[in-house]
Point group: C2
Chain length 442, copies 2
């Protein structure tokens, strides 16, 4: 059978990695796919630059639409990132009847509904395994491997930069700023790290996972996103004292009234597998009503781990080229006409457990005031931890500040918002208490 011709848009880290993997494993890949996969064309910004891959036999060009219009190209592999040009390229490729493979999580999370509708109308496939969790085939696992389940929850470490920073803070007692600098030096963080450390990247990914887990459209409007900027070493230490590790999680869960989609730091019990995922690795817990808990671990980024998922998508697309479009795996796991419009629970109505850390005056009655405020909002307390004085504790006449930590049972976020306003108004408590969610993942 004749080779399938692909064009790679973007020969940066992931694009060059994909070209390398396709070249190195050419024989095994053809033995699997039943056809050769040939890179015939690539889009680059700077035609003169050196590449991390062999480009012999590859036509290089800098015009995105020329790629999409080339009649000899069967599949466009979009690895350039960004939203505007990538979107134009993909929409044009679809209009030309070409299949698309992409690793672009922002594009899929924000414009996926439109892209998939166009692909459906044109009878082509858009595959995006590499958009979430790099080399972990989590899209395939949820969409196909767990097709018999009603998925109840997806929760996991889906941003390697955050995990590298938090793991280093926990294991090596480094500060947030030290770890962020180290992440930059090692190439784990961009020059502008805000997409990672403010939780935006994880939010894009969990929006995608929520859609395929629950059979809903991509709800980028509905994600509740918090990052780890300025995470305090004191909270890492107090969490450890209580038997927890702080991780940045993406969570999509069904609740009584609908679903929640969130990305934020959380305390995870130290014995949980997820708590033991270190460095830039990712791990995702999927709970289905039949299968129970499953965990999927691997490299969430990097040239070749991401290329691994890109190539798997290419092979899948090659296999389904001749399949009737109605019998292909639907983009969002459920048939497009059968997506549900499940209500999203408002942030303030979401129920979780909380870690609250106050900086309180070390004098009688403070804890009584705080616990009274919580009790009035029906927030019940699981544990209290009061550490020794932050200073040397001598001669401060009762005016020193000490950290007081409370772990709550499950409660609605609005109750916590309300309680924290009242607590911050107490004279004996500093005015910015720390609040983090506790996720037992049970």
């Amino acid at each position: 059978m004749k080779p399938v011709n692909i064009a790679i848009a973007g020969l940066g880290t992931v694009g060059a990695g994909t070209a390398r993997v396709l070249a190195r494993n050419r024989g095994e890949i053809a033995r699997r796919a039943g056809r050769e996969i040939a890179v015939t064309r690539a889009l680059v910004r700077d035609l003169g630059r050196a590449r991390d891959c062999d480009t012999k036999g590859v036509t290089l060009g800098d015009d995105p639409l020329a790629l999409a219009d080339d009649p000899r190209v069967d599949i466009i592999v979009e690895l350039m990132g960004g939203e505007s040009v990538a979107r134009d390229l993909i929409m044009r490729a679809i209009a030309n009847g070409k299949h698309v493979v992409t690793a672009n999580k922002a594009l899929i999370a924000r414009h996926g509904n439109e892209i998939f509708a166009a692909a459906r109308a044109a009878g082509v496939m858009v595959a995006f395994e590499a958009a979430v969790a790099g080399g972990i085939s989590i899209i395939k696992t949820i969409r196909e491997g767990l097709a018999g389940n009603r998925v109840l929850r997806v929760a996991g470490i889906i941003n390697g930069t955050c995990n590298f920073i938090l793991s280093g803070m926990a294991e090596r007692n480094c500060s947030f700023d030290e770890m962020l600098a180290e992440a930059g030096q090692r190439g784990y963080a961009e020059a502008d790290p805000s997409l990672d450390i403010d939780g935006v990247d994880a939010a894009h990914k969990i929006v995608i996972l929520a859609a395929i887990a629950f059979g809903i459209p991509l709800r980028h409007d509905a994600v509740n996103c918090e990052g780890i900027r300025g995470m305090s070493a004191l909270d890492m230490e107090l969490a450890a004292d209580l038997g927890f590790t702080i991780k940045h999680l993406g969570i999509a869960a069904r609740s009584g009234d609908g679903i929640t989609i969130r990305a934020h730091p959380a305390l995870v019990p130290r014995r949980h597998l997820i708590a033991n995922v270190a460095g830039v690795m990712n791990a995702i817990l999927v709970n289905g009503d039949a299968v129970g808990d499953t965990v999927h671990y691997g490299a969430g980024a990097g040239a070749e781990p991401t290329a691994s998922s890109v190539v798997a998508d290419i092979v899948d697309v090659v296999r389904a080229l001749t399949t009737d479009p109605d019998n292909r795996v639907p983009h969002l796991a459920f048939q497009p006409g059968a997506l549900a419009d499940l209500p999203v629970v408002a942030r303030e109505e979401v129920e979780t457990c909380y870690y609250l850390r106050l900086s309180a005056m070390d004098k009688p009655g403070v804890l009584a005031d705080v616990t009274r405020i919580l009790a009035e909002r029906a927030i019940s307390i699981e544990a209290v931890l009061q550490k020794g004085r932050a200073g040397d504790g001598e001669g401060d006449g009762g005016g020193g500040r000490v950290p007081v930590v409370l772990l709550t049972h499950r409660t609605r976020e609005k109750n916590v918002d309300d309680a924290l306003r009242s607590i911050a108004a107490l004279d004996s408590v500093d005015d910015s208490p720390v609040r983090m969610r506790v996720e037992y993942l049970e």
Copy 2:
């Protein structure tokens, strides 16, 4: 579109679980698959017995071949177990042009080559995700999700009974016999537990994983299998002292000269994710040249976790019903004409690290004798641990026995065989030294 009709052969634990999941999640499954999946027929041994599932509308019968011959049945789901009747049923179904889904690991490991050849000739699919690691979609992950990789190693906990016994011994200081009895009481071990505790079940599964990982035929003849029968509490304790946990592993790995396929107990570093998999859970590490290490964790057995994989296979088969057979995912991951015949490294030529435990007389010169014997076989020593006397140590005039543990660097098994023969012949050492492999899984 009209429903797909399936017949379930065997309404025991997994068969009834499959019927329950198909009924409970009927709506979601149809929204995914694009068609209703209807159970129209089932094979049972005893027509009068009560079932753990609703059989309304299901034609029950006790003749296997009648199932395979029913023209209204599209897919036969074989969940009866055993080899003889199951094989006849499956071969007849294939001859009749029906697709097959099975959870029967022994049948696939031992007769898969023949079954797949017949299926290929008839243009039908035989899906077997549930044959390995229950609810973990490890076949799909290796065969499709990692299709871009040259897989270098698959290693994992793939027998829940062994893991339940070993975890209990390690965590609760129980004996092997106590844990085996408890496994029986909880339904984790059969009345005859030998398939599990002698490693046969894990051997079947690793044969299947080796085939799809490396693109080789099923090599049931080539697996090296050891169980955990009589595992000693002393070895669990000494392993822990050295920073390891003992787990029963299935391992398929490429080595310089070929491949090895094995199932045996091994010491795993306590910090490795695999070492922290407790109870009946399974976890499988897959290392590919592009993706690096990935780990896949979940329930390896049980009615509904296994049903989860069975239903996923049914949905996959439904989607591929109209696909040209040449474009379906090949049974063994690689195109049937492109399977390689990689040489299997003989047991005695396999290189690993070893844990050796001797019961030696507590007198000078014993360690010198032992280390000289190892040195003569070019076996270098990583660590030595000599514990205090087993008895109270008083008044035994130097004749007491103490455990001496040696961890070796990588060496060939034949060198260890040879060294242990010489060591056992020493007057100062009891004549059955314990030998276990050490797998760093790095």
